[in-house]
Symmetry: C2
Subunit: 297 residues, 2 copies
């Protein structure tokens, strides 16, 4: 996976956390590590606490693609209101992330599952050029690139297998308010799999014209939604890698594992809930999802 | 079922309809008629077109509990914007509905499945007193009664088996923004089954502490959402009556049949889509729902 490692400061109605471990690459890698071995490509500044790297290393994450350069680590300051669906960004300091050029160790060039997290689509395309064609390439993006680099984004979209976005991004990308039409339109851009994340309303996948819906886990409280989308992607890609299959049944199970990982993430700040998470809890919550969706008995 | 029969005038971004057949009792009965024999208790004015009654009679709906009195039929004028989740009421003329006192023909006093649609909770309680205890009593209500007759509503809630409301009503009734907590709180009011309708996000049911989620059918366009909730209830109650079972599996199938009927209703104005609907289409869409939710293969 290629993406950002960051230090987040977050305020929610339930508390605050300062300079805690964040970034799409971090959330993704930690979540995916419950299923497979993750290779991370990212950049941090010299100020980045070694303890954070140790957390990932202990999960078996291969950090040989992590650049440590002079300067400050990417910092994000955000706030959520009682409607936890959307973050309000208060401050973004890109630091070393501003000049990030992904560098792939030779051993990374053959990787069966590649996740291109939310970075400049030109860099996403550059990474894709540097690897042997993986079995599955999935992509995330955000409003900033949809508005500012639409053409480059469409170029990379034409070459990936799956797009994972939230509902607002799907609507913005396609200029189509109806989510069903938006999903179908994205299929014409290149990806054969579209996953749309809908926060408290769960997620939907369209694969070869077939829809699949998963609810969000019914939580009494969402504590901090930061990282939910990235851990969803980590659970999804990790579960596919573990299954080593890409058929409809494997994709559906992977969507549910993504939902499982996201549901844990939002129970606490940063990676705090995932740090306490066990494999057994993951499988138990997967079974609970299965039970909540089961029509036949 | 006990509820309203109305003449609706509706404007949506896609068109308008004037003085068309509407009302909770109408939508519910027509939808339930695909599954079972419906007995309707309602009131209309002398101005009510006989052709509308014929539509229901042709579906086998027993109209012996329909009062036809001097005066004007209940009229509702509403409008939907591009966000079709909530109607804006432009005008309400209660007419004969203002003095509606449900009268039950003797043959109606033993009825296994009773649906109390959105009317004054004191009238709902009155109906409940007049019948031998049915196997299942389900109730709908709205913001008007939650705010204006909370105490009477709580009295009737204490005596019913199931509450069917939308998400905004569930939050208002419990004064609890989190829908999971709201659902659990409603269970302490009396009902053992809570169904929360979430429009384009589907519905959820809590029964004996277990959650079940059904998505909304992925439609390219929602033409007119009027009657969606009432046909959902009609499909739900009708399917339960047909199955003649109240176990978890039967309830889950009934929730999906409710979603099926609602998904057809919103495809056209008034009952127009249901008038063209066949049993085969109902079963086919049920199977499509099953396919969209299936995790195991």
């Amino acid at each position: 996976m290629v993406g950002s490692v960051a230090l987040d400061s977050v305020r929610t109605p339930f508390g605050k956390a300062d300079d805690v471990l964040g970034g799409a690459a971090t959330f993704f890698s930690y979540a995916a590590s419950f299923f497979t071995t993750v290779r991370l490509v990212a950049v941090v500044g010299a100020d980045f606490p070694k303890a954070h790297l140790d957390l990932l290393a202990r999960r078996g994450v291969d950090l040989s693609g992590l650049q440590v350069t002079e300067g400050a680590t990417f910092r994000w300051v955000g706030e959520y209101g009682y409607d936890l669906n959307e973050a309000k960004t208060l401050d973004t300091r890109l630091g070393v992330f501003a000049d990030f050029r992904p560098e792939l160790p030779a051993a990374f060039r053959r990787t069966p599952f590649l996740f291109l997290a939310n970075i400049d689509p030109e860099l996403q395309l550059d990474v894709l050029r540097k690897v042997e064609r993986p079995r599955l390439v999935a992509l995330d993006t955000m409003n900033f690139w949809i508005q500012g680099k639409r053409e480059a984004l469409r170029r990379v979209l034409a070459e990936v297998d799956a797009l994972l976005v939230n509902d607002a991004e799907a609507r913005m990308l396609t200029e189509e308010p109806n989510l069903v039409k938006a999903a179908r339109k994205i299929l014409t851009y290149g990806p054969r799999i579209v996953v749309i994340k809908r926060g408290e309303y769960g997620a939907l996948m369209v694969n070869e014209g077939r829809f699949f819906f998963v609810p969000a886990f019914p939580l009494d409280a969402v504590f901090d939604p930061t990282g939910a989308g990235d851990t969803f992607a980590g659970g999804f890609m990790g579960a596919l890698a573990r299954a080593d299959r890409l058929d409809e049944a494997a994709l559906r199970r992977a969507i549910v594992y993504g939902s499982v990982m996201a549901s844990f993430t939002v129970e606490d700040f940063s990676l705090d809930r995932l740090l306490r998470l066990t494999d057994r809890e993951v499988e138990e919550r997967f079974q609970t999802f299965q039970e909540m969706m089961r029509l036949e008995r």
